[in-house]
Every structure is written in C-alpha cells, then in structure tokens.
Amino acid sequence: MLEPPPTDADLGDPAQWVDRYGDALLQYAVTRVGDLETAEDLVQETFLSAFRARGGFDHRAAFSTWLIAILRRKIIDHYRKDARTLVTTDAELDEVAPMFDRSGHWTVPPANWRSTPANQAENSEFWQVVHRCLADLPRHLAQAFELRELGLATVQEASEIAGITPRNLSVRLHRSRLLLRECLQSKWFNIEPKGDA
C-alpha cells in the first residue's frame, strides 16, 4: 500500500531546513564547483526546489539525502550551462604534447610519489593544492575531471553535459589527469623535473 504523502507538519518549518541542512549542502556544493558564491546560489535553488517538490518526498530516504539528490542535479545543470560557454579546443590544442617526445616516450618520466591515498585524503593542504591545480587547468579539462572523479556523472552523462562524444571526453580526461599529475608533482610532492628516465 502506498504511504500517504507527507504533510508540511512532517517536514517542519522550511526556515529550519536552512539552519539544519544549509551548511552541509553548501559544503557538498563548494567541493564540487570550487566557488563559494556559485555554491550558495545552488544551495538557494535547492531549498526552493525542495519546497516546491516537498509533496513528492516519500520518506524512503532521509530528508537530507533527498536534498543532496536535488543539489546534485543542480550541480550537473550548472556544469551543463558552463559547458556551453567553453570553447572547444580539443582539435587545435594538445596540452600534453610537451610531456612526450616524438617517439611518444616521457620527456620527464613520472617520479615515485612515495605516498598513499590515505596520507593525502586527511591532509587539508593537499586538497588546497589539488584545488589550485584544477583551477589552473583549461576549464573544459577541469570540468571533465571534476565530473568523473567527483562521482558526479558517468562517462555517458559527462559526454552529454559537455556536448562531446565519449571518445572526445576520454581525450579530455587523459589530458586533465596528465596535467593535474604534473602540477601535483611540482607543487605538492616538490619533485623537481629531471631529464633522466
């Protein structure tokens, strides 16, 4: 039997949603869009959408999970709009060409980072460096990386958002990963480039 739709009394005063969930939503958003003001706009839109759609909340998930699901869709919409403003330069530019010689071998071979994911994930300074490195990437590459590595979209979804084929998305992901890796190597792992292999 279907449960009756929630009443407004079940969900409480919407003003209290802001106090109870506002910061958590903002933190979720800011990690994914990297900009506080944009994140605040998305949180605002999320609360308004949630209010309008509150009759559809069926209690199968926690209210906070439902809000995050709405916010996630807002973030994807944000990326989709962002993609329309990006100049597609894949064909003209090969940002990672200098990393390889003519025969396709590393000009500067990757060094040993001597680190584990757990070491980095708990380190706030590491995230600040990742954030800065992503900000330095061409926007279309950073967008591809964020959509995939932050778990926002599947390959198919990310391709649709960016308005490119999955093959071209794969090219962007490859370039973004190489550029981010190079940035982290110099800015976080403090490894000076060496010419030898």
């Binding site: 506002g22 605002q44 390889f100 990757p110 040993n112 994911p117 390959v155 890796r181 982290l184």
Partner: protein, 101 residues
C-alpha cells in the same frame, strides 16, 4: 581505443599507455588494449609509476566527500548570515504564494 594487430600490440609507447591507463579508469578496456598495456607496464617503470599515481589520485578523490570539511576551499564553508536570511525570506514568500487568498 583503436584496434591493434597482434604484432603492434607489443609496440605501444608511453603516450599510448598513458591514454589506456586513463581510459581504464572510466571503463573496461578492449582485450587487446588490456594486454598491450599489461605488457608495456611490465617493461616500463615510468608508466608503472604513472599508473600508481593515477590510482592514488583516484583513491584520494573518492575519499574527498569524507574529508572535505574546511579542506577544499580556502573559505570556511558556512552560509553567510545574509544568504541564510535571504533563503528563508524566499521560502516564506513561496509559502505565502501557496496560501489560499
């Protein structure tokens, strides 16, 4: 990934290997590419390190949701009082507009 002949399977270079390592993070590689990459990684220490770095980065990124608090942004991620108030006002207006006149 483009299809390769059996002979050229053994001949991928580091750039191609890095493309396959990246592609493998987004989905299963075709069998030929998988074998070509495996052979290349046995022979190439630099690409093996690259593959390890990609794994590390991916694992770190997947840990981000648990560790983002105050880390990702230089800003402390709290709604400003002004924004908090603005959202409450918008919600109140939305509520008023639903009330029967």
């Amino acid at each position: 990934m483009k299809r390769r002949s059996l002979i050229s399977m053994l001949q991928i270079n580091c750039r191609e290997a890095s493309e396959l390592i990246s592609a493998a993070a987004d989905g299963e590689l075709p069998k030929r590419d998988r074998i070509a990459l495996r052979i290349h990684l046995v022979l190439c220490a630099a690409c093996k390190r690259f593959a390890a770095q990609m794994s590390m980065l991916r694992a770190a990124m997947s840990a981000l949701p648990r560790s983002w608090r105050g880390c990702w942004s230089d800003e402390t991620a709290h709604l400003t009082p002004e924004r908090r108030q603005a959202i409450k006002q918008l919600l109140a207006q939305a509520n008023d507009s639903e009330l029967p006149s």
